[in-house]
């Protein structure tokens, strides 16, 4: 393992400090906790708390700020944060209008956030939760834990954050978050693995000429391992699966996120995006807004995901609202 770190056990702690030194205007750290909150949050709004395992930077701490999250809780690398930390985050940002938890659908995350919600509820804090499950790579059936939550979560942060910022009630913010979840689909792929610092070795192995379609953001196996193909063909494969699940008709408006997993250069992400734009144009589907970048990574994994959000007037307006966070600034 070759990494620019001091000690594997210290990576989360030191990363959070580094983020605060870089963006003191947006985030501060709750003393003794792995929680970043907004430096100055208005208390008269519904608060949004998200989080998850570390290793997905800039998610989720990078989205704490005006128009997005109020707090992000960082777990160990690829491991859900614990209920006590989530609970402290909820307490810190609750301004009396309630707190919405935005959870990615993994068993550990759901269990820990649910326990934290129970703790907050016992203290009389109103907490609601939404679970993001945008990954169409894995089956959503009663025989699995459901689809995983991946990069489409960023649209939930953005849109629910804008709704809360504009004064929405907890029920309204939750409803719009659920609308995003119902209308966003993602699909990813990987060409090279990542190494969890404390594990010291790669979480999977791909041969030089191999890629894995549907790979999760923790290196969970996807649908199929096969010889690598051109960017255009990869984009087609990912979109095919998304279109199977998200009904889109000519004239529909969408937002698209081409997300890098950590080791894939922007050059390649833009090449992917070119194909995505062509395919959408061919189908007569409008892309109102495109985001390209490393929004939710998987340490140094090579690969990318495509997320597509079907918009209506409300979602479109909230997506376009201003936001100011370490990783996402929009005027």
């Amino acid at each position: 393992m070759k990494k620019i770190i001091n000690h594997p056990a210290d990576v989360v702690d030191e990363m959070l400090d580094g983020m605060v030194y870089a963006y003191p205007q947006y985030v501060r750290r709750l003393e003794g906790l792995n929680v970043l909150t907004r430096t100055k949050a208005p208390t008269e709004k519904v608060a949004l708390v998200s989080g998850g395992g570390s290793g997905h930077e800039p998610a989720h701490g990078g989205y704490v700020g005006r128009g997005m999250l109020d707090a992000a809780v960082a777990g160990a690398v690829f491991t859900s944060p614990t209920p006590d930390q989530i609970y402290e985050a909820v307490k810190a940002v609750n301004g009396g209008r309630g707190v919405l938890l935005i959870i990615k659908n993994y068993t550990g995350d759901v269990l820990n956030f649910e326990m934290a919600a129970e703790m907050a509820d016992a203290e009389g804090i109103r907490v609601e939760k939404v679970v993001v499950n945008d990954d169409v790579a894995v089956e959503n059936s009663t025989f699995t834990s459901g689809r995983r939550g991946i990069a489409g979560t960023l649209f939930v942060h953005k849109i629910a954050g804008a709704k809360a910022e504009s004064g929405g009630t907890l029920d309204e913010v939750k409803a719009v978050a659920e609308k995003v979840i119902a209308n966003v689909r993602s699909m990813g792929m990987a060409i090279s693995p990542c190494t969890v610092p404390e594990a010291g070795k790669p979480s999977f192995v791909l041969k030089e000429n191999e890629m894995e379609i549907g790979m999760g953001i923790h290196g969970e196996p996807g649908i199929q391992r096969e010889p690598i193909q051109t960017a255009d063909r990869i984009a087609d494969r990912l979109l095919e699966k998304i279109f199977d699940d998200l009904r889109l008709s000519p004239g529909d408006e969408t937002a698209v996120l081409i997300n890098g997993l950590g080791a894939t250069p922007l050059m390649e992400l833009f090449i992917m995006n070119r194909r995505v734009a062509e395919v959408f144009a061919g189908k007569g589907i409008k892309i109102v807004k495109t985001y390209v970048g490393n929004g939710m990574t998987s340490l140094e994994m090579g690969g990318c995901s495509i997320s597509v959000l079907k918009l209506d007037d409300e979602l479109k307006q909230l997506l376009g609202a201003p936001a100011e966070t370490p990783a996402f600034v929009q005027f």
Binding site: V77, G108, S145, E220
Partner: protein
Amino acid sequence: MMKGSLKSAMEEIASAIKANKDYLTDLDREIGDADHGINMARGFDAVMAKLNSAEPADLSSGLRQVALTLISTVGGASGPLYGTAFLRAGKTVRQGDMLNPKLALSMFRAAVDGVEERGKAEEGDKTMVDALEPAYRAFEDTLKSGGDFPECLEAARDAAKKGVEYTKTIPAKKGRASYLGERSIGHQDPGATSVWIILNALLQYAQKIHKEQ
């Protein structure tokens, strides 16, 4: 029985988890996210630090301390699941109660119920429950037929081991391995495996105490 203490029992568990840290992580790498051993070792290290800093007043408050420490340090799904198990086991014990096989049986039941409720899992889902349920039944049967504490735990441990073997034959329906579907067949469940390791550690502990008496 119990000349021993919760602290020495937890010491036995903590060192067994530490010895099997890489093994559990390797199992998890095959069908999960490669952190089970790392997370469990971190949690039980924290438990020992906590118990070493202040020995709990009694079994009930000690188990609560163990539970809260696991919940706040393990993370993943295992933190809430093992934490709930110890929390529920502790709730079964009244203040000042001393451990005996009958009390252990009701603690065991409460722990298994807690894991099943929290994880919404049942036998056959390829989870911890596949080791816990048969282990509980073996403990209960051995106790009913007059077995002593080490004998009950030995039966439980052996049944847990069979449960671990059984998880190799079935696809996962809960947890991250469920995404693999049929591809998870052939791999043993890391959570069921840590249940077996913990029961084996408790057996080692009970045998030591038994000999001393």
